[in-house]
Symmetry: C2
Subunit: 443 residues, 2 copies
């Protein structure tokens, strides 16, 4: 990958020229949310670029981009489909390369550079997509197994359906917020000790969940399924980090028999930059697979996958290095977990094929969560539930502090990247700070 002429692109930046993620910004000069891409510690304002250059020359054959880059979400851009995303990202990579074919547009145009190339700290990020529906899967094998084992013993850790289908549930789209949004500790019904009657109180077991999120590009018609081998090229727009905040005590009491509800619907945070599907292509890897790797954990041969879940490709997931940082109110930051997205047992194409098997319509902008991603070790966990073994062990922090679950004032930051310095494809921070509950006790 060529170098960029943009100043100060730190080699360790998530936003190298190999990335070019898309987001929605507002700026000091323009309070209407609109599209931008990230490059190093800067953003390129695509609305300003469109207003000051000939887009038909930069992106030949693609109509309406100026209008699309002025919209308050990336939905219209996502709907154009993968071939257009590929072409636009490629053209922007060229524009920002030292040896660009169009030096006059930006590289050598000081006036436009000043207007269109802004420091990231000078812009405000917004939700990148208008999210119709949000679905959260449970494809993190070690998470599902460890949590199941905690409550049912390791012999019954995985439910009978777990290896046959990507288990998932419908989440709450209205509660998805962009990185940096404050997260209020939820009040809920919880059981204390052995009392069979609940109390209404702030959650005592507030947790994070380290996940990957996937945005849908093109929709499917209601009643028609998306074949697993067509899901990637035909329907995936890009990826974000996702923190599915969870109140474990609320969830434990409410979830039978219809699944998580208030234990999850108070907030889900996503990173602001959508890493396009093409940017992750060089970092493909094999997921945990039912017939081979899983055997070492489960000790028996698993039945073959249902036909609709069998992918032609064997490298359906990505090898993204993932980290969780916890920053205390006092400002001490500890990286409490390091893991990889290869710990997923299902790829997003498999999740999409399953989601639409019965004809459920996915729409442009819909968000799919992977489920919590954990490695095998306790300190590779994607949640405090696992790290603290449901509150029985403390997680040591810098500053002589420790946690079982989150305290008010804590900030959780998810990070993720692929590749080596100078060519990193990363997500930036997905962060949220916990604020105290509005009511202390209501009953």
């Amino acid at each position: 990958m060529a170098a960029s002429w943009v100043p100060d692109v730190d080699p360790s930046s998530d936003f190298s020229l190999a990335n070019i993620p898309f987001g929605i910004i507002t700026t000091q000069d323009d309070p209407a949310p609109h599209a931008a891409v990230a490059i190093g510690s800067h953003v390129l304002d695509l609305k300003v670029l469109a207003a000051n250059s000939d887009l038909t020359k930069l992106f030949p054959g693609i109509d309406g981009l100026a209008e699309i880059f002025s919209q308050s979400s990336l939905n219209a851009f996502a709907q154009l489909g993968r071939a257009v995303h590929r072409q636009v990202r490629g053209a922007i990579q060229d524009l920002l390369s030292t040896d660009t074919q169009h030096p006059e547009v930006l590289r050598d145009n000081a006036e436009l550079r000043k207007k269109a190339l802004l420091p990231q700290r000078a812009v405000k990020m917004h939700l990148p997509m208008e999210i119709g529906d949000y679905t959260d899967f449970y494809a993190g094998f070690h998470h599902a197994r460890r949590v199941g084992g905690m409550f049912r013993g390791m012999d019954n850790a995985l439910q009978p359906n777990y290896l046959h289908l990507p288990v998932g549930y419908h989440g709450r789209a209205s509660s998805v917020v962009v990185s940096g949004t404050p997260v209020r500790r939820p009040v809920g019904q919880i059981l204390l000790d052995k009392d069979p009657v609940p109390v209404t109180a702030p959650s005592r077991k507030l947790d994070f969940e380290l996940e990957l999120g996937c945005f849908i590009a093109r929709p499917n018609d209601m009643g028609s399924a998306i074949p697993v081998d067509e899901a990637d090229e035909g329907h995936i727009f890009g990826y974000v980090l996702l923190n599915d905040w969870s109140a474990r005590d609320v969830q434990a009491w409410e979830y039978v028999p219809l699944g998580p509800f208030n234990g999850k619907n108070f907030a889900t945070t996503i990173s602001p930059w959508v890493v396009l599907a093409d940017a992750l292509e060089p970092f493909r890897a094999r997921p945990l697979e039912n017939q081979t790797q899983l055997q070492q954990y489960l000790g028996e041969i698993q039945p073959p996958l249902q036909q609709y879940l069998r992918e032609k490709r064997r490298d359906g997931v990505f090898d993204i290095q993932l980290e969780v940082e916890l920053t205390t109110a006092e400002g001490d930051t500890t990286t409490i977990s390091r893991t990889s997205s290869t710990n997923l047992i299902w790829s997003f194409p498999q999740m999409i094929a399953h989601h639409t098997l019965g004809g459920c319509p996915l729409r442009t902008g819909d968000l799919l969560g992977s489920g919590t991603i954990s490695g095998q070790g306790r300190l590779e966990s994607g949640s405090l539930l696992e790290m603290s073994e449901n509150g029985w062990r403390v997680v040591e922090l810098k500053g002589m502090d420790a946690r079982t679950f989150l305290k008010d004032g804590d900030t959780v930051t998810l990070r993720g990247f692929c590749g080596v310095d100078g060519g990193r494809v990363g997500f930036g921070a997905c962060e949220g700070r916990v604020y105290e509950a509005l009511q202390k006790v209501t009953d």
Copy 2:
């Protein structure tokens, strides 16, 4: 209630002058979806009315209605709040009354009557709201108890949380369709007999669910709960009938531990006319109550409700007469169930208070389902699962036919109304026909 001058308002019509429900139509002259109200077997086209009369005289003090009535959903109207809905509905009732205060606007204006008052059969109905999120509760006491008893025995029929909180789950907003939309039998993973390995096949246990749906008017801020006594006046727009189509075999295999997914997300049908909250006010009734009526079923005194669920009013639900008709492909129609919405254990204000307890934001246009409404008797059931006892008993139909679950070509029609002939407040039909699955066997 005064009589209407509109011709042929059948006394048994759901759409008496006491109702005035709102919907979204297209007409032969105007293919852009816009607002209307129903009166008898006619609709009053509000966009045409607005374009041809002085709305400031009809609806004094309310700005922007002409623009709002031209929109493709009722969301902007809903967001105006209950006081405005009350005033607008009252003014339309006056306009359509024999003794209207504004006879010149419509009653005595043959030209406008011809353009604005159209036979219902001449217009096409659309989804009335743009639905952000759809939540389905489980507040039908006899349904929850009977289904629970079927799978766990009557002594353990209700889960420990059931009497403490309105159990609910997040549904799939993209799959909500308006009455009349074809419903494709879903393909899914199902277990056959005692085989522990699933097959992928069309559902053999396709079912309906008789529910009431509630639309949200004004939103709450993220992080702030809606007090139960403020939910009705402050946040409820109106009601529809709702059929949450369910594939029982798909659901049974997939639902542990995160709840229903593909078993429900292929289609949910709603009736097209939103009956405003005020239209149902005269038909209030007491729900099943934890401390009193429930004792006769459960044989023990229940603990008091959590404070946030205690309503000042004791008549939080409505006494709506509900019916389910099944029409075979041959055209024989049987009313297979008759029940009432007083069989709900939770009111919608209680559902809203619970939904927002942890701060989950509800938005204008969000849809809440009540859960399946069943009476005590088998033929008062809101689902075939209950009527057929999960396939063990047949439900007799006219035409020498019978069902355990739905066949391709069956049409299910939900109906509901309050009040006596001449002043009925009803919903019209909520109907859908089942079409054969796209793939017979894939594995």
